[in-house]
Subunit: 102 residues, 2 copies
Amino acid sequence: MTRAEEQVLLQELKSDYRHILINYFTTTDKTLKHYIDKFINAVFYANIPVPQVIEIHMELIDEFSKQLKLEGRSDEALLDYRITLIDILAHLCELYRCSISQ
Amino acid sequence: MTRAEEQVLLQELKSDYRHILINYFTTTDKTLKHYIDKFINAVFYANIPVPQVIEIHMELIDEFSKQLKLEGRSDEALLDYRITLIDILAHLCELYRCSISQ
C-alpha cells in the first residue's frame, strides 16, 4: 500500500468509526452491525496496528468533546464510548485469534 | 488441556487479573507490567476466547461493586477500570496480530 492509499484507508476507517460511535447507543438499525463488521474486516485485512485504532477513537472523542464544549454541554457521557472501543477490540482480537486457530 | 486443568488456569488468570485491576491506577510498581505481560501471554498461549477474558473482567467488577455497596460506598469509580480492559485487549490483539504478521 502506498502512503497515499494508506491515508485514504485511514480516512475511510475514521468515517466508518464515526458512524459507529454516533449510532452505537441510539440505533436499533441493523446497518450498525454492518458498519462494525466492515470496520473490523478492513482493519484486519489491512493489518492496521491496534494503537492506530485507538488513535482513531481518541481523535473522534476529542472532536466530539470540543463540539459539546462549544455548545456549552457536558462531555461526561463520552466516557460511555469506551464500551464501543471494548466491543470493537474484542471482535477484532477474536478475528485475529480465530484466523490463527484455523 | 483437561477440563480440570482449564479450571485451574482460569482461576490463575482471574487471580492475576484481580491483581492488575487493584493495582492499575495506584501503583508505580514495575511488577504490574510483569503481571499484565504474564496474563496476556497466558491467555494467548492457552488460546482463551476473548469473551472469556471479558467475563473475568465483569465477574471481578461485579465482586468489587458488591463489596463497595456492602461498605456503603459508591461503585462509580469502577467504570474507570474499562481503561484497564481496553489496555489488556489492545495488547492481546497486538500480540495475535504480530504473531500472524511474522
